[in-house]
Symmetry: C2
């Protein structure tokens, strides 16, 4: 895997898809998308795509499950898809994650390309080869490492995104900035993703996708270095799982923003991450994202979710932490007591 | 994948598993097996295996499905398996296929080793990296290419196998012989797998596994050459699917033996495979395997199953055929009418 993924920035999505199909020998093609994207986007795209079939799934992370996955396999089967067929995952992270897994397991794997329609999808899910579904209440518990043969990134989808969607994607960009270094990070913190200039957002996005691409290329199956990308995700996934259990699922990026606050607190406690940078980041998050409400009674569940995180390799809980912006340490073990202190401080910083 | 698979021939299975665990850093280990193997084998092995947990699934191809797979994922999850955990698939092809897929998708992939307990499993399923489950009535419709990190082959399991199980495995050995050439093939046709000497069977088995290993190493994901191994399987899988629909599942090897007869008929018709060799092979199969009953009314269903075979890349039906023993041609398209004639001749040769 990883070898020859094409990353295409364009405003002519239909043209890019047609080109990719042609260079693959014009295979029968299925477009996987969700009801929202289908309603909003496919009308415009549809005519120019030529002879394709649609598989439309219900939207949202709550539907990224085994039932929907089995439905996709069944549709491919009933429609007569073969190992030479192609799938185009047109949607947010739910569609690209689940579609990538469906494609890479149907008949032991058919070709697929990702066309992210959200900022989060473009910066995070569509690139990097992680595919999968939630299972039994745990996020991405079942899946595979399998690269899309191409990713088509277009700003044409972002114009109509609600502010929450833009912020959700921007959280992953902030995370990439924290990993990349002061320069990129400062530019991100100085920018307002909701009201800021779209061209500038797009140029920040390209930079951000490159951060991820560089890291993934060195460690496609997450044996080491790639865990850097996990910054904010051990705590963030636990917030997501808790919110899911409460029946009020979180946007992934929001969970990552709040998870980054928790993990920068841990970075401060364990690795001397500068206090001033911690407070500046927390203030940015509190201003743009608000807070995810937790109290002490949630701590046992949060610790349990962190222990179950798929990146966790033992009974200990493993974090990616920072010594400073741009200085990453992977495989940092933190004890339950330290994590509880960090959750306390998260609540202080978020004014909960 | 494919890079570093260990193939271990031994009579000390527990010792080999312990050694493999140790060299992997003694990870928490789950043994996946079925009820029959658990009853017959695990008592003897159990004590020497040390600290392992068992996942016991109901036996048979009919249980190689999404429900059983989800049960395996759930057990791993509830037992707290992590990405560093190890799975040992101890059983026949159903267990190694399904267990390999469960392991390679749980948390996007944990390490697994295969310990085939049947001749068919040893010669076919355990080596080569094909994993998966049946779906919606089609064989192996969902799965992945994922190599076991090691395969432990032991003759200690074969002593107690019923004759049908031995014959089922031997059919794949016959197929490997047809691919490899006259020498190996003649020795196989001269041997009676049920009453013949066990030591000789084992030495034929090693030879046969090497045929598969050589072919797979050159084309792990079945883009070309590996399709040679598909000899007998386009027709064979169709027989299996038909039998499954009739509610009387076939042993895989029997289906392959009969499938080889159909495809040697096609080889004779399309590629000039010698008539004498065809008749000799058909007589061996009729003597040892009997016949799978079909009549004309089954032809449409059989053609439909062949068209749906996952190796089939278009509306045409694709076969691996032989010009003579040891001379393989992949990607041979045969028309529906020729296939019907071949099915007629199969019935003649099998005295149906």
């Amino acid at each position: 895997m990883m070898s020859r993924q094409e990353l295409i920035y364009t405003n002519d999505v239909a043209g890019a898809i047609s080109e990719l199909r042609k260079s693959a020998g014009s295979p029968p093609t299925w477009i996987l998308t969700d009801e929202n994207v289908h309603r909003c986007v496919c009308g415009t795209l549809g005519d120019s795509l030529g002879d394709v079939r649609y598989i439309v799934v219900p939207p949202g992370d709550v539907n990224k499950n085994l039932t929907t996955l089995a439905g996709i396999w069944e549709r491919l089967q009933l429609d007569g898809a073969t190992r030479r067929s192609m799938m185009v995952n047109l949607g947010g992270g739910v569609v690209t994650d689940m579609g990538g897994f469906a494609a890479s397991t149907f008949k032991r794997g058919i070709r697929f390309i990702n066309v992210p329609t959200t900022l989060l999808g473009a910066v995070d899910a569509a690139v990097g080869g992680k595919t999968g579904i939630n299972f039994n209440g745990f996020k991405n518990e079942v899946g595979a490492f399998s690269e899309a043969s191409a990713v088509v990134v277009s700003s044409c989808f972002f114009d109509t995104l609600p502010p929450e969607e833009v912020l959700s994607g921007y959280a992953e960009m902030l995370k990439h900035g924290l990993l990349a270094g002061k320069d990129q990070y400062d530019r991100l913190l100085a920018f307002d993703p909701v009201s800021g200039d779209r061209e500038e957002l797009l140029s920040l996005l390209r930079e951000s996708v490159e951060v991820k691409r560089r890291i993934v290329a060195q460690d496609p199956c997450e044996n080491g270095l790639r865990k850097a990308l996990n910054l904010g995700h051990t705590a963030g996934h636990a917030f997501e799982s808790l919110a899911f259990r409460r029946g009020k699922p979180l946007a992934h990026g929001y969970a990552v923003a709040w998870g980054c606050v928790v993990e920068l607190v841990l970075s401060h406690m364990a690795k001397g991450f500068p206090s001033a940078d911690l407070h500046k980041f927390a203030a940015y998050v509190a201003e743009h994202y608000g807070a995810f409400y937790i109290d002490c009674s949630d701590y046992p569940a949060l610790l349990e979710f962190m222990r179950h995180d798929k990146k966790n390799e033992s009974a200990d809980i493993n974090f990616t932490l920072l010594r400073e912006v741009g200085k990453v340490e992977i495989n940092c073990i933190c004890g339950d007591d330290d994590i509880k202190v960090a959750l306390d401080l998260y609540r202080d910083l978020m004014h909960i």
